[in-house]
Symmetry: C2
Subunit: 396 residues, 2 copies
C-alpha cells in the first residue's frame, strides 16, 4: 500500500517510515526539517550523529534495496503543495507525526506557545481540509498523546478515547452516552493534541474521513530492527531539557555521571512505550484501516505505567547514578496514579516490550558511546509553565 | 472601567461598544475591518447603510459627548501590536468578538475553512498568550455559541457549559465529575468555538486567567437604544446566504416578497436572542467579572427557543409571505428539540426581550426602508457542508 509519513525525519517518524518500508509499504516521507532547525535554535543536537535525510534514504536503499520517496513541505503553510502531493501520490494511508512534540518547548515563551499552536493546529487542519478537497478515502493515522487525558489521579483505568457516562435527563431518568474522554491537557503542546481530537471528530462526522488517533505514552529507547542495519540509519536521541523524554534523559545522565533530574517528588506516574513497539503499533494501526469507519478510532499506544521516582531508582541501581530532586517547572499534580487500557493494540497483535535492565543497557551503551557529544549545560529544563513555577525554579 | 472591545466594528461588537460606553466604560475598539472586506469578497453589503468607523465614533461623540478609542489591529497576526496595546491601555476587561462568525462562510471552500481556523484560533490564542505575557488580570469575556453543544436532540435542558456525569470507577463504585459539556460542533465555525473552550480551560488552569465564555443563540433585530440615537450609528443587518441569520433573513425576504427560505423540513430548533439583549448581557457579564476566578464561567446567552418552521409561519402570517422548503445545505439533524438554561444571566438581572409581532415589525420596517439596497441573488445559501449536500442542493 502507498503510505505517506508526515514528519518522517523525526524521532518516531523516521523509524516508523523504515518499519513500514521493510514491510512492503511504498513510503513517501514528508518533512520540513523543523526538528533539525529547532536543534539549531536551542544550540542542541541529537546525542546520536544523525545523517541528512538524503543520506538516510540512500543508506536504506543500500541496506535493503528498498526506496523511500521524499517531499519537502511545510504542512501548516504549503497548502497547495499538500493538495498537489495528495493528488499525485494518492496514498492509501497518511501517518501524521508532523507536530511539534515537546511540552517544555511549547511553554518556553509566548512565541513558542504560538508556534506550537500555529504549526500543530494549522498543519492538522490543512491535512483534513486537503483530504476532503482531493476526495481521498485515505486512512489517517495520527500520533496523539496520553497527555490529553490529563495527569490528575482518576479512579478509572483510562479507556481508549471514549468514556461512557450517565446523567439524569429532564424527567429524572438515567441517560447514557459515550463521549470523548474529558480532556485536561497540561501544556500548550498537549492542548494542541486535545484540539486535534475535536478536528478529527468534526471531519469524521461531516466528511466521513477515516481516522485513527493514537494516544501514545512517553517513548524510550533509540534503535529499532531497521535502524540498526547501518550506522547511517541511526535514530535521533534527545537528552536536552526540552526534547529529552524522561527515561532517555535519565539514561544519558547516568552515562555521563550527571545526577538524575527528578522534577518535584517524582510521584508523577506516566505511561511508557519502547520505540520498537511504537513502530509496530503504527504499522498495526495503518494496516487495520479497513476497520475504521464512522467515529474516530482512538487507541492507547502504551505498554506499561511507572512512577518517575521508581524509574530514577531503577536507573540509579542498574547503571549507578545519584538522584537529584529539582523544583518542578511544570504546573501539575505532584503525585498521581495512572493506568491505561491498551486492549485494541494488543488485540491487533502487539507484543509489549517491557522495561527491563537489558534494554536499559542498550540505550545506556549508546549514551556512553556518544558521550563526547553531550553538552551538560543543555540537560536542565529551563522552560517554566507559569510565573510561579519560574520563581520557584530560579530561586538562588 | 477600561474595556477593550475586540471586533467592535461588527454586528454584535458595535452596539455592545456603544452600550458599554453609554454606561460609563472607557471603551477602546479594536478591529481589522475583516467583516467589511468579506462584504467586498462576497459582493454583499449590509442592508443598512453603515458608516465608516471614524464616522461612527464621531457620531457617538456628537450624540452623547462620549469618546470611544480605536486601534486597527489583526488579532491573529499582529501579536506584538496586541502586546503593546494591552500594555498601554491596561484594560480591566476585554470583550472578544473578533472571530469569523458565519457557519456557511466557514464551509464555503477549503480556503474559507482554513481562514476561519487561522483567524479564530490564532486570534484567540494570541490574546490568551498576550494577557499572560503582559501579566494583566483583565477579565476576558468571549462570545461563544450555542452551537458548541450541537444540534442533536438531547434529553436535557442544556446546562451552562458544564455537565455533571457519573461513571463507575475501577472498583465498580460510582464516580461523579463535572465536565465541559461534550461538544458536537456542526460547522468549522462552530468547531473553532469548541476549540476556544479548551484554550480557555487551559489558560484558566495554568495561568489563572479570569474568563467568561458566553454561548450565544442566534441574534435577531438590528437596533439598540444607542444605535437609534443618530442615523450614522445604525447597526449592520446581514441578509445574504452566508451572514444572514435565520430570523433576520426571513424578515428581509418578507419585506421584498421573496419566499422565506427554510432549509429542509424546518424541524430544527434553535435558541434566540434579540440584539438589545445581547448588548445588555455583554455588560452584565463584563461588570460581574469579580465573580470569576478558577474555572471558566460559561453562561448561555439566550432568551427563548423556536423551531425554524414555526418562525417562518409566524413571519409569514405577521408580514405576509410564502414559505419555500429548500434542500438543507448543512449536514445536520433534520429535526431536533432544544431548550437551554439561562439562569446565570437572569440572575445577573437580564429581562428577556421575547419575540413579539411588534419587534418583528421594527426590523421589517428597516428592511422595507432599505429594500432598494437588497440584491436578490445574494439571498440563497450557496455554501454546502459536504459533497453529498452539494449534490442535493445543486440538482437541476
Amino acid at each position: 500500500m502507498r503510505t505517506l509519513v508526515l514528519g518522517g525525519d523525526g524521532f518516531c517518524g523516521w523509524p516508523s517510515a523504515l518499519h513500514l518500508s521493510a514491510h512492503g509499504h511504498e513510503v513517501t516521507i514528508v518533512d520540513n526539517f523543523s526538528r533539525r532547525r529547532i536543534d539549531d535554535e536551542l544550540g542542541a543536537r541529537s546525542l546520536t550523529p544523525i545523517r541528512s535525510l538524503d543520506e538516510r534514504v540512500q543508506a536504506w536503499h543500500d541496506a535493503t534495496g528498498r526506496d523511500i520517496g521524499f517531499a519537502e513541505l511545510d504542512l501548516a503553510h504549503d497548502y497547495d503543495d499538500l493538495v498537489d502531493l495528495l493528488s499525485t501520490v494518492r496514498p492509501d494511508a497518511v501517518v501524521h507525526f508532523a507536530e511539534q512534540r515537546a511540552a517544555p518547548y511549547s511553554m518556553k515563551s509566548p512565541a513558542h506557545k504560538r508556534y506550537t499552536v500555529d504549526n500543530n493546529l494549522g498543519g492538522t487542519h490543512n491535512l483534513l481540509a486537503a483530504l476532503v478537497q482531493v476526495g481521498l478515502d485515505a486512512h489517517l493515522v495520527h500520533l496523539g498523546t496520553m497527555g490529553v487525558y490529563g495527569y490528575e489521579s482518576v479512579p478509572v483505568d483510562l479507556p481508549e478515547g471514549y468514556l461512557t457516562v450517565r446523567y439524569p435527563d429532564r424527567d429524572g431518568h438515567e441517560h447514557t452516552r459515550d463521549i470523548l474522554y474529558p480532556t485536561q491537557p497540561g501544556s500548550v503542546y498537549h492542548l494542541t493534541k486535545s484540539l486535534d481530537q475535536l478536528l478529527f471528530q468534526f471531519y469524521a462526522r461531516n466528511d466521513g474521513l477515516r481516522i485513527t488517533d493514537l494516544h501514545q505514552g512517553i517513548v524510550w529507547g533509540t534503535q529499532t530492527d531497521e535502524t540498526v542495519l547501518d550506522d547511517r540509519l541511526i535514530n535521533r536521541f534527545d537528552y536536552d531539557g526540552d526534547y529529552g523524554t524522561v527515561l532517555n534523559r535519565f539514561l544519558v545522565q547516568a552515562a555521563v555521571g550527571y545526577p538524575l533530574t527528578v522534577h518535584g517528588s517524582g510521584g508523577q506516574t506516566r505511561a511508557f512505550i519502547n520505540i520498537r513497539d511504537t513502530v509496530r503499533c503504527i504499522r498495526l494501526a495503518v494496516e487495520s484501516g479497513a476497520e475504521v469507519s464512522g467515529r474516530v478510532r482512538v487507541m492507547n499506544q502504551v505498554t506499561e505505567s511507572h512512577r518517575i521516582s521508581e524509574l530514577a531508582d531503577l536507573v540509579a541501581q542498574t547503571l549507578g547514578a545519584t538522584v537529584d530532586h529539582l523544583p518542578n517547572p511544570r504546573a501539575e499534580a505532584d503525585t498521581n496514579d495512572l493506568s491505561a487500557r491498551n486492549d485494541q493494540l494488543l488485540g491487533l497483535g502487539l507484543e509489549p516490550t517491557k522495561l527491563a535492565a537489558g534494554l536499559l543497557t542498550e540505550s545506556s551503551d549508546i549514551a556512553r558511546k556518544y558521550s563526547d557529544r553531550i553538552d551538560h549545560t543543555l540537560i536542565p529544563c529551563t522552560s517554566y509553565w507559569n510565573d510561579r513555577r519560574r520563581a520557584e525554579g530560579t530561586r538562588p
